[in-house]
């Protein structure tokens, strides 16, 4: 972007400016333009007033936390009581068809009798009603286990009452009790060889609790407010408004953009509570406080649901548990993971010293984060904390966003490390957004990612080379760096959006889209191979292997916001769906599998099915189960152009990340 700006661009930038999202370079240009152009000045002032007015007007008008609870219980009430209001709906329907508003307004819509009976209920009344209902439902839920999720049966009252989270939170409570308290509930991971589908099952001990209602002594005997849910309206655990981040019932309804929450991952929107019992619990500790937002499904109920919905199994979840155990066992005392010690490729600059250690530490931290363990929450929070703090310590001060002469890794290949480590910090930050120290470090790491990007003369970005500010775009390196930027964006860090476009420049140059059909017709087109390395002038179109086209398609999806049926995405996905590219043989190229898994997951449908079926079998099957290797995956140096130079730590982390795909990110498009 140059220093002059035309009126159209200026108008487009104004909102970003007011939201504080505009890049520094554009701010100056915008302000200069506004100063010079009286029309835009008037426009700008008007917009600013609107912006402020909107913010003020809606400031204390967030939708209530218990909106969904109430809607839920109300739905049941209507089913039972309502007859009269059907009339009103009929009238409304008729008038919409007739496009006549006034008639419908006169028609009368509410039958006052039942309305007052519902709205007159105090909040705990609703809670009690739901509570009783859940007890009654518990039996039905367990009966419903046999039903496959995809077959949605007819509408009935009982099923309506089961908002997915309710079932999930039962599981969440169970798993969190287990994780945090490590009481006798601590059960070993489920049989890794099981091919059985994961289904939502209500554990008997929870059923017993639900019946007793106010006997939660096992949860925290020192905190009376966590003990009673049913008879004690002060039980913060179940009625959290504004909990502490570190205590039961954390999260709550007053968060800023992201909430830290116990047991439910982060919530990227304010107003959704969380907590062991679900922040907006209902008296049995099975509230609806499932995590929302980009990282919200990483544990607790959301995770169970996602595993089930997207085709995971007990075996995949068991394998993730085992892998995390292995990683936790092999962390160094100071918090980092060692690359060379565990079969990393000695003598390779990407693996030796800081370069390799920071990278594999990033991978390991990502594996924990992906399963919902953050610096504050979860069974492995100490491990995550130590890993993240180690990365933060190693991040240097300096003019260029901490990556001047003392850049993390000065050597060849350091952009790999930068991307992975920055991705880990950015995700950690996104999941613990109130940690200002972490945030400032993540911001600097992300700035370092942008700093390392190739620029052509001016401020026009390209992708990334092995070395900071190199010359040859490298698709593989680019994948990690762009994921870091994306995670930073989700975490609310400041990122020049042209940095994203730089990556797309390279993908557009390097991907071979000759003879590609136009968007929408590409559903069956196989093609779109991607270059491995090249410049914009000589991109070596399409000469890269399977990891490259997977990375290209993923970048398009995550950064370009392209639809999954555009040729640049559908082409590679169709290639990956072919038998020779599926994750069906071992030793497998886990590096490719990681890209491929994320990409095919986003693509969804038959593609995901074709990919997921072999993957979810082979990974648990090939996970080592002997001695010190228990829980890890073996390292293969050379396989079809793929190298796991980072050793066992990297291969194990990648394996875990593959199997965490079901809940790690949201699906970008609903397809």
């Amino acid at each position: 972007m140059t220093s002059t700006m035309d009126c159209t661009t200026a108008v487009e930038c104004m909102r970003a400016f007011m939201e504080g999202e505009l890049a520094e370079s554009d701010k100056g240009a915008l302000l200069a333009h506004v100063k010079a152009c009286p029309e835009c000045k008037a426009d700008f002032e008007a917009r600013r007033e609107v912006f402020q007015a909107l913010n003020t007007a809606y400031n204390d008008l967030s939708i209530s936390e218990n909106f969904d609870d109430s809607a839920n219980s109300r739905l049941k009430n209507i089913r039972e009581v309502d007859t009269a209001s059907q009339q009103a709906v009929k009238h409304a329907a008729a008038s919409v068809e007739a496009e006549d508003e006034d008639e419908a307004m006169l028609a009368g819509a509410v039958s006052p009798g039942w309305f007052s009976s519902v709205s007159g209920l105090p909040w705990w009344g609703v809670s009690v009603a739901l509570h009783v209902l859940i007890i009654a439902l518990a039996g039905l839920i367990s009966m419903a286990i046999a039903l496959p999720q995809s077959e949605t049966p007819n509408i009935t009252v009982t099923e309506l009452m089961q908002r997915p989270e309710i079932k999930e939170d039962l599981k969440k409570l169970e798993s969190d009790n287990r994780n945090v308290l490590e009481t006798k509930h601590d059960t070993p991971p489920t049989d890794p060889m099981s091919k059985e589908m994961s289904t939502v099952v209500v554990p008997p001990e929870l059923l017993a609790k639900a019946e007793l209602g106010d006997h939660f002594e096992t949860i925290n005997p020192d905190r009376p407010d966590t003990q009673s849910a049913f008879g004690n309206p002060e039980a913060m655990m179940f009625h959290s408004e504004k909990g502490s981040d570190d205590a039961a019932g954390g999260g709550g309804n007053e968060g800023s953009m992201l909430d830290d929450m116990i047991g439910v991952g982060g919530a990227a929107s304010p107003g959704s509570g969380g907590g062991w019992g679900g922040g907006k619990g209902t008296g049995t500790g099975v509230g609806e406080g499932s995590g929302r937002g980009s990282f919200g499904n990483r544990n607790g109920g959301g995770r169970r649901l996602m595993v089930q919905r997207h085709g995971g199994s007990k075996a995949t979840e068991g394998a993730v548990d085992k892998a995390l155990e292995w990683l936790a066992r092999h962390q160094e005392a100071d918090g980092h993971w060692d690359c060379i010690k565990y079969e990393g490729k000695a003598g390779d600059v990407r693996c030796e010293g800081m370069n390799g250690d920071a990278a594999v530490t990033g991978f390991a931290v990502l594996a924990f984060l992906g399963a919902g363990h953050t610096t504050k929450v979860g069974k492995y929070k100490d491990n995550v904390q130590r890993g993240v703090y180690w990365l933060m310590q190693k991040l240097d001060e300096g003019e260029k966003a901490g990556f001047g002469p003392g850049r993390w890794c000065k050597n060849h290949g350091s952009n790999y490390t930068q991307g992975v480590a920055a991705l880990a910090l950015a995700e950690a930050c996104g999941m613990s957004p109130r940690d200002q120290e972490l945030k400032s470090h993540a911001q600097r790491a992300i700035d370092g990612v942008v700093y390392g990007q190739i620029t052509t003369g001016g401020s026009e970005y390209q992708a990334w080379d092995y070395d900071p500010k190199g010359h040859t775009n490298d698709t593989s390196v680019t994948g990690w760096n762009i994921m870091a930027l994306k995670a930073g964006k989700i975490a609310g860090l400041k990122i020049d959006h042209f940095a994203f476009e730089g990556a797309l420049h390279w993908i557009n140059a390097g991907q071979d889209l000759t003879n590609a059909p136009k968007a929408g017709d590409a559903e069956y087109w196989e093609g779109g191979k991607m270059a491995y390395r090249g410049t914009l002038a000589a991109p070596n179109k399409g000469n890269g292997g399977e990891a490259m086209f997977a990375a290209a398609a993923l970048t398009r999806l995550m950064v370009g916001g392209e639809r999954p049926d555009s040729p640049g995405v559908a082409g590679p996905c169709n290639l990956m769906k072919k038998a020779e590219h599926l994750p069906n043989k071992w030793p497998g190229n886990l590096y490719y599998w990681y890209y491929g898994t994320l990409c095919m997951f986003q693509k969804g449908g038959d593609h995901w099915k074709a990919w997921n079926e072999p993957m979810k079998q082979i990974l648990p099957e090939k996970q080592r189960k002997d001695g010190d290797f228990d829980g890890s995956w073996d390292v293969f140096y050379d396989y079809n152009g793929g190298h796991i130079y980072g050793g066992r730590v990297m291969s194990t982390a990648l394996g875990a990340l593959c199997l965490e795909v079901y809940y790690r990110y949201q699906k970008l498009n609903n397809n």
Binding site: C7, T8, V11, E12, M14, R15, E39, A42, D43, A46, R47, E49, V50, F51, A53, L54, T56, A57, Y58, L61, S62, I63, S64, F67, D68, S70, A71, R74, L75, I78, R79, S85, A88, V89, K90, A92, A93, V96, E97, A104, A107, G108, A109, V110, P112, F115, S119, T152, I155, Q162, P164, A268, S269, P270, G271, G492, G561, Q666, N669, N670
Partner: protein, 192 residues
């Protein structure tokens, strides 16, 4: 998040195959429309509590009466229509209650209802009203952005459109709002 088009499609599917719509659909309705409905009710009612009550009621009733909607593509309009009826009814009822209280000599409750007395509240009412009168895509992005307090990217995910589209629509919505609030009188259309 399913897009509106997908929800409509699901409705059409239900027509062909009665009972083919699942309970998940209710939550889709809630996620997609609750902000819009609450905003609409807020314009007519004095309290947020009431507005939310009304929106819940609308969603519940509508869900149970989905088969009565003749043209699924008018799902949004239909919901708004029901919502408006419900809100107006409650408004009348509140008015009556107030009159009764006054006539029987009861003092106004300590928790005074939100009225348009102060300048600030007048401005707020104007804004809510202006937002409610925006054309559909703009209204949607604004209520999701401000009432649901979603970020731009989250709004995009919720609506199933690219973030860029949301940004553009918000920019346009600002302009329309500025006009409605008489903050802006200038050339009719921004070059786009």
């Amino acid at each position: 998040m399913p897009t509106t088009a997908m929800m409509v499609e699901a409705l059409v599917g239900m027509r062909k195959e009665p009972g083919g719509i699942g309970p998940d659909y209710f939550w889709q309705l809630v996620d997609r429309f609750r902000a819009d409905l609450v905003n609409q009710a807020l314009v007519l009612l004095d309290s947020k509590q009431d507005a939310e009550d009304i929106a819940q009621e609308t969603l519940c009733k509508a869900f149970l009466q989905l088969h009565q909607l003749k043209d699924p593509s008018k799902l949004g309009a239909w919901l708004r229509q029901i919502n408006k009826c419900n809100a107006l009814n409650l408004r009348r009822r509140r008015q009556r209650e107030k009159e009764q209280r006054l006539s029987t000599g009861q003092v106004e409750s300590i928790q005074a209802p939100r009225t348009s007395d102060t300048a600030q509240q007048r401005v707020r009412d104007q804004i809510l009203k202006a937002v409610d009168s925006l054309p559909e895509p703009y209204r949607d992005v604004v209520v999701l952005r401000y009432l649901e307090k979603l970020s731009t990217d989250e709004v995009a995910i919720r609506l199933g459109v690219p973030s860029g589209t949301v940004r553009g629509q918000l920019t346009r919505a600002d302009e329309l709002l500025a006009r409605k609030l008489h903050l802006l009188q200038k050339k009719e259309e921004q070059p786009r």
